[in-house]
């Protein structure tokens, strides 16, 4: 999950294979659906996790999203790609969950991987730009997640999909069923908000 693969269009053979898997899964072949789950489990989990900042919630919601996708597979007309359709289900499920939960956020953060301390950008950010030079990565992680949770769900979703997962504006528009202009404006507004919340970590020394 260190380098999230953008969900750009897969090549033709992979797309054909995916189409075949979708057809078989629609007929009720669980082995084919198992293969589809394996393809997208990390991205779907990551999207939900970054939205909720809670591993347990992300686990439940990701499983429910995949189960719901299987239930609704017969209504999948192929108007969009399977992954866009799957993302839409996961996104809607997550936003509905967060609305029900309102502001009762409970952080259950995943550990940072080994590569974090060797990421030059992050190391530079902490050692040079942070006024609190003793601030550790864990503290920064907590602050970042808290700041994300202060955003509204649609704004947070755009930031997570674009800035964290590398999804393009066009694909986000398709996933969130809105136009590209809305995606851009939400992204700009969300970044501004985050800048305000994280000012002490972003200002130059």
């Amino acid at each position: 999950m260190a380098d999230p693969a953008p969900i750009s269009s897969p090549d033709e053979s992979a797309s054909t294979l995916e189409g075949d898997l979708v057809k078989r899964a629609r007929r009720g072949e669980l082995a084919a659906y198992d293969e589809l789950v394996k393809r997208y489990q990390e991205r779907i989990y990551a999207t939900i996790y970054h939205m909720t900042s809670n591993h347990e919630d992300a686990n439940d919601l990701a499983q429910e999203a995949f189960i719901k996708a299987f239930q609704a597979l017969k209504s999948f007309k192929g108007g969009s790609t399977f992954y866009t359709w799957l993302y839409r289900i996961a996104v809607n499920k997550t936003i509905n969950f967060l609305k029900q939960r309102k502001n009762k956020h409970h952080l259950s953060l995943n550990d940072l991987d080994f590569n974090t301390e060797h990421n030059p950008d992050l190391v530079a950010l902490i050692s040079e730009k942070t006024p609190h030079r003793d601030a550790g990565l864990a503290e920064l992680q907590k602050k970042l997640n808290e700041s994300l949770l202060k955003l509204s769900e649609p704004h947070r979703m755009v930031v997570v999909l674009h800035d964290v997962q590398g999804v393009s504006h066009e694909e986000i528009a398709e996933i969130m069923a809105c136009n590209i202009g809305t995606v851009r404006s939400r992204l700009f507004y969300a970044r501004q908000q985050l800048q305000g919340h994280l000012a002490e970590y972003l200002q130059s020394t």
Partner: protein, 168 residues
Amino acid sequence: MNKNEDNFETLKQLLKLKQHEVPPPGYFNNFSDQIVSRIRAGEGGGAQSLTERLESVAPWLVHFLQVFETKPGLIGAVATSLCLLLTLGVVVGERSDSASKTILPTAEFASAGTASASITGPPLVVAADSTGIVASTNPATSLQPVSTLFGLPNASLFQSASFVPASR
């Protein structure tokens, strides 16, 4: 704007930290198995919620409702226009009501000398008795006093009460 973009670059670097947050080791090893076993256990054909069914049948309606969620101001606008429509309906209803009341006496004058039953027309009038009351299915014209050929309208409706002792 350039300064903003520059600041956004720093923010984007900071957001990269999120990419390093990983679930416990081996988490994805059994993830798909859990889903498949839940589907096998019967959840795959489970009942869908109303929203989920609506989403598969009429996604446009779900998107329409989602617009309300993202733009709460629209709810107020729609509610206000609904209230205005309702008020307009009530006002128009009352006007037509009073108009039917004013039309009725005019019709009475126009048809003076004819039978009272013919004033309001056959479909509305059920019966006219000697008291001058027209029973009608139309609530506006029902129990309206009508003129009679013999003196004051509804004269027999009110009779002065008098008591004469039996000894006289």
